[in-house]
Amino acid sequence: MDQAAAVTLHVRLERRFSGGFLLSASLDADLRGGAMLVLFGPSGAGKTTILRQIAGLERPDTGVVRFGDEVWCETTRSVWQPPQSRGAAIVFQEPTLFPHLTVRDNIRYGIRHAVSIQDQIQDQIQDRILDRSRIAVAEIATMLGVAGLENRYPRALSGGEAQRVELARALATRPRLLLLDEPFAALDAPTRVRLRRDVRSLLQTTGTPAILVTHDRTEALAMGDLIAVVIDGRIRQVGAVADVFTRPHDAGVAAALGVEAVLPGRVVAVGGGLVEIAVGDIVLHAAERESIAAGADVYACIRAEDVTIETRSPGQASTRNHLAARVVAIATEGPVDRVTLDCGVALDALITRRSREEMQLSAGAQVTAAVKATAIHVVPRA
């Protein structure tokens, strides 16, 4: 795949359901170079329905789906491409391996359709296709860590293995777009983390763009390049993951994402139970909860409740992070005040009104923002 060429996904969908639920999704995303778009939102928001319409498994009442220069659906011109001709393989939450086929036959199930028609008509086709699929199966099974399971039937696989085979089956067809409908949700935590990492590196190696449906914000942060926030059947915000998390358009989006600052950074050092993370020009110290290697790309997530403000230099304290900050704005949120700080990166602090009055804080004031190392949640990029 040409890395430089834009692979744009253009979606305008409208569908009214009998219960009165209205899905009205509008989305433009550039998925070049194997980028992953996360459809994020609470359960029942319509994420899966959007995915199924992109896959061609459901039709909108009105709408358009374009991928690259292909029109997959355009209701006003009665254009409809069935799922077979979209090249968008889908992976569901529960494994849907074909129970009567071995792992090998499952993985190569769709392969011969990826071979061009021209090749298929030539003679000796059968041999060549089989040969090619044998190589492809071995290759893809190794990449997904299911080599050695080829002769098993699906019922003899664990949940994690089944989902790996499912991904192998989808990737073996060399899809133009991979659609993932909460594929890790049914797995146990260690398996989930490993599989996320493997899938993301595989997608980047093969340059396969993907759309991932999830309601798990850690997963969204770990896997996503772009994120679309889906609430009540609408896509409320689309953008780069860090941008959307840091600058939600409105309170609804902020609530769906969780009120945390999400700061993209890189681990510069690990030691003594602490992870040192460079975020822009500043360095944060976070408690090391899981093993992270130096050089890893991470998000440092900080809740506004965990940020304290100091007006004079403190004595010896347990707080690891002290950042010189300028007060940008102060807003009242019920009984507490939200203080927006600029400390090289944007950070919010929630403080009581009395504290604010005692410190006589106002916009423009120079302060110190303090964050305990244990309050910084580090999410490694998968």
Binding site: G56, Q84, A89, T96, P99, T173
Partner: protein, 223 residues
């Protein structure tokens, strides 16, 4: 023991089951997967032989394939003889008579295949027809076998329809159940009881096999 009649019945039942496999699978596929709203009408027509008296069904088939109908005339022109009172005519009548016994097990099994398997297959680029061949059919083996066996057994025991459409020509249309009727009419109870016993044993064996199949004695159920 009327071996001629028994052999004729077995041939008729085999031909009927084979024909219903060929014709019933597409029909069951259409009933399960067609988006048409009015397909319940077709389902009702398929189920009609379950409740219709065999004489009524036989009467309409006789009219439909007789020399007064376009179908009957067209067949007579091509074949040189009419359909009533022939093996072919009997085959057509038997297919209609046993239609629900094949199509209903087929469609029940097709409908039980997890739809997500089909969607996964489609999204992997495999056409609907090929998805049906490679996924639905292999997963529906039990339903297919059940339908074939039931329609075989049902055809073996048919009486009213045969009498209406086929008459009673030895070796051509005199099936085993008509042979039993004839034996009783001529007070040959010994012959009737021998033939009846054979039918009873065969029918019982077939039904035992079908129910064993449903309980997955031989074919493992799908996951």
């Amino acid at each position: 023991m009327d071996w001629t009649a028994l052999w004729l019945s077995v041939r008729l039942a085999s031909a009927t089951s084979a024909a219903l496999l060929v014709g019933g699978v597409p029909l069951a596929y259409w009933i399960v997967f067609s988006p048409r709203r009015w397909k319940y009408v077709v389902e009702a027509i398929v189920a009609l032989p379950l409740v219709l008296p065999p004489t009524v069904l036989g009467f309409y088939v006789l009219i439909a394939i007789g020399p007064l109908s376009p179908i009957g005339r067209a067949y007579a022109r091509v074949a040189g003889h009419g359909l009533p009172f022939t093996f072919e005519g009997l085959l057509i009548a038997s297919m209609l008579y046993s239609l629900p016994f094949a199509v209903q097990p087929f469609s029940a099994e097709f409908a039980a295949v997890d739809r997500r398997l089909l969607e996964a297959s489609w999204s992997l680029g495999v056409s609907r027809a090929e998805t049906f061949r490679r996924i639905v059919l292999p997963l529906s083996v039990r339903g297919l076998v059940t339908g074939i066996v039931l329609s075989f057994a049902h055809t073996l025991g048919e009486f009213g329809v045969v009498l209406m459409v086929g008459g009673n020509l030895p070796g051509v249309t005199r099936t085993v159940s008509i042979s039993i009727y004839d034996a009783v009419q001529s007070l040959d109870y010994a012959l009737a009881s021998r033939t009846s016993l054979v039918l009873l044993v065969v029918s019982f064996a077939i039904l035992t096999a079908v129910y064993a199949l449903q309980r997955s004695v031989w074919i493992k159920p799908r996951l």
